[in-house]
């Protein structure tokens, strides 16, 4: 009998082009997503070396990070120019580079445009069992479909463009098993925040994590993408969820997914990828769903997670002296005092969006809380940014945009928006934001901005009350 293998081992083995004596492998890359920020220097490198793109047919380019999320066409259907000259230059570079190297490009006003990690699954470009890379650390997102997906730097972007491969060493494997069933008001985002709290920001370093257990099985693809999206926040190279009927139902009929007999062959192959009984992970962590409440971060590392019912910790309570120091710095930056109840923390800004939480289900969850309610007076800025033009269209068809607008939130065009302080959507210095994005780093949402990571329903609840709020108090 062949040795039992994990999902990760199966995907890895299927992509080895060559193995060197020291164990490093040349790994074939099935899908490459390209955006405007991490690609200009890579294309420039190709140009200088006189190299071409080996497989433009496996490459898809879409702008997202820099794009303003305000209207892109004016009343006459003319393109609204981008005010920031550097952003404009970077976007123009992608617009030029894509056709020059024969790569398909989704432009800023195409309904298919959106955040790379929303577009890939939505178009059926991302498939189970494939290797997917992108010059963005949240590429692990696509692991929600059972793809081995990870973020790469610009030199690696250039390497993949030129060779369609990467030189890689095999990671260790970890199983994170989430057993039980989620309580009311607890979403995939709360699960992944909780996991990050348990593992720590570097707990997964050197590993590829497979998320398993009843909770993960019961999640929709949107939820699984949310979980895998944040694998990097606990240090993992990639996250994976084994493909199953939920996955196939999600992908069937997507524009770039296989069709007809090809589809059947693909599904048969995808079914064979699940981790074999008896396969061994290097590490196993088990989490009980009953321990997961609606979660929120208090500090400047995604590991700084608490249930919303918690209180701001005292730095001296941490065992590790370097963590004590980090916690002190975090609290100073966040302007928080130990002992404060999380639910007593006022916020001024709300951001619902990012590749973690901007899919249709996320918007539905937020709208369910906001329906018939208004944002609190102390909320100065509240925006909802759909992950793609198609998500936006769907949300509008369901009337979600009206719910947001009636509640006093702004309804925007798709893009990365306030997930990172790069485009015009920023949180002012010293102000707090309840944000559905994935990083609460110092300055991530703008210089001096204070981020509290939450789920879409929790962000909506904070919009209603003007402070961090247990969403269960508004829904039950």
């Amino acid at each position: 009998m062949p040795t039992p293998q994990t999902l990760y081992e199966k995907i890895w083995n299927a992509h080895v082009v060559e193995q060197r004596d020291d164990g490093t492998c040349l790994i074939f890359i099935d899908r490459h997503l390209v955006h405007e920020v991490t690609s200009p220097q890579a294309f420039e490198g190709l140009r200088v070396a006189g190299r071409r793109v080996r497989r433009p047919d496996l490459t898809l380019a879409v702008p997202d990070h820099n794009l303003p999320t305000t209207a892109r066409l004016d009343g006459n259907g003319q393109h609204v120019p981008i005010a920031d000259p550097e952003s404009a230059q970077q976007l123009e570079a992608l617009e030029r580079n894509a056709p020059e190297f024969g790569i398909a490009y989704i432009n800023a006003t195409d309904i298919k445009q959106g955040i790379v990690h929303v577009v890939g699954p939505e178009q059926g470009f991302s498939l189970p069992g494939t290797t997917i890379v992108c010059g963005d650390s949240h590429t692990a997102c696509h692991g929600g479909l059972g793809a081995l997906a990870f973020g790469i730097g610009t030199s690696e972007v250039e390497h993949v463009l030129a060779t369609q491969t990467l030189q890689l060493t095999r990671s260790k494997s970890m199983e994170v098993r989430v057993e039980g069933a989620l309580g009311p008001g607890v979403s995939a985002k709360d699960v992944v925040l909780h996991i990050t709290g348990v593992l720590g920001a570097s707990g997964g370093t050197g590993h590829v994590i497979e998320y398993t257990g009843a909770v993960i099985r019961a999640l929709s693809i949107e939820g699984r993408l949310t979980i895998s999206n944040m694998a990097i926040e606990h240090g993992a190279r990639a996250g994976l969820v084994a493909p199953d009927d939920t996955t196939f139902a999600y992908l069937k009929g997507r524009p770039m997914a296989p069709k007809g007999a090809q589809w059947d062959a693909a599904v048969a192959y995808w079914r064979s990828l699940a981790t074999d009984a008896g396969a061994v992970y290097d590490k196993v962590v088990t989490i009980n769903a009953a321990d997961i409440g609606p979660s929120v971060t208090w500090g400047t590392s995604p590991e700084d997670v608490l249930p919303i019912t918690g209180i701001v910790p005292d730095p001296s309570a941490f065992a590790d002296p370097s963590k004590q120091d980090a916690a002190r710095k975090s609290l100073a930056y966040m302007g928080l005092t130990p002992g404060t109840r999380m639910t007593d923390i006022e916020v001024q800004n709300i951001f619902i969006g990012s590749c973690t939480n901007s899919r249709i289900e996320d918007l539905r969850a937020a709208a369910a809380v906001l329906k018939g309610r208004k944002k609190a007076d102390n909320i100065k800025w509240a925006i909802v940014v759909p992950g793609s033009g198609l998500v936006k269209h769907q949300a509008e068809a369901e009337g979600l945009d009206r719910i947001f607008i009636d509640a006093g939130l702004e309804w925007r065009e798709p893009g990365c928006s306030a997930c990172l302080g790069m485009n015009p959507d920023k949180v002012p210095a010293g102000e707090r934001c309840a944000s559905t994005s994935n990083r609460n780093f110092v300055g991530r949402q703008g210089p001096g901005a204070r981020t509290h990571l939450v789920s879409p329903a929790m962000a909506a609840a904070a919009a209603v009350t003007g402070k961090l709020t247990d969403v269960r108090e508004l829904t039950t």
């Binding site: 490093t24 920020v37 059926g124 060779t163 920001a201 240090g235 110092v442």
Partner: protein, 197 residues
């Protein structure tokens, strides 16, 4: 890539844990389409604090940085490695690095050296007053006080760093193997090519 075999000089004793890529180079600096000039934005938020190590004349133009656990966590932005190189840093010593950062560092000839916390604590002390020497050939970090710490490095990476190997050029030598793989896989899994219209 420029060959690199040793680094000698002062070290910024930063020591901070979880130094993320937004700290190394904040997002507004990522709008560039070139690899150079990012040193001005390196560690911007830390440098706003008076008395920070980066603006302490004692460490001016130090080629080494000493940091805490999980250095370079966060984003895949290679701008982090470019910014550090542009600041004149050739090596970072820390108890652990994020996977993406150590890859990016390597690709830019920036040494990411892993040493246990006890060694880091000692080097932080030495860095206050004296130079630190890193030798890639012998895989050692030494001080004028007879400290000698041995570090591990992937032999392939070591070879590439010392010889300044262009990795893409190296991989292109395997073009035939890549073609063979492509032919095999498109026969076995014809559905793998996406319907990009």
């Amino acid at each position: 890539m420029k060959p690199i075999s040793s680094v000698n000089g002062r070290a910024y004793p930063l020591g901070l844990k979880n130094v993320d890529t937004d700290i190394i180079i904040p997002a507004p600096w990522l709008k560039t389409i070139s690899r150079s000039g990012l040193g001005k934005g390196a560690f911007e938020a830390l440098r706003e604090v008076p008395g920070n190590v980066f603006d302490d004349p004692a460490y001016a133009a130090a080629p080494i940085l000493i940091a805490g656990d999980n250095f370079g966590c966060g984003s895949s932005r290679e701008h982090a490695a470019w910014a550090m190189a542009d600041l004149g840093i050739s090596a970072v010593i820390a108890p652990s690095f994020s996977d993406i950062f150590s890859g990016n560092a390597f690709k830019n000839g920036l040494l990411a050296i892993v040493l246990p916390q006890a060694a880091i604590d000692r080097l932080m002390e030495v860095a206050q007053t004296d130079n630190i020497h890193i030798d890639l050939e012998t895989q050692t970090v030494t001080t004028p006080f007879q400290d000698r710490f041995v570090f591990e490095i992937d032999p392939f990476r070591k070879h590439c760093l010392i010889n300044g190997v262009d990795e893409i050029g190296l991989t292109l030598k395997s073009s035939d193997a890549i073609s063979t793989y492509e032919t095999k896989i498109s026969a076995q899994q014809p559905w793998l090519t996406p319907n990009i219209a």
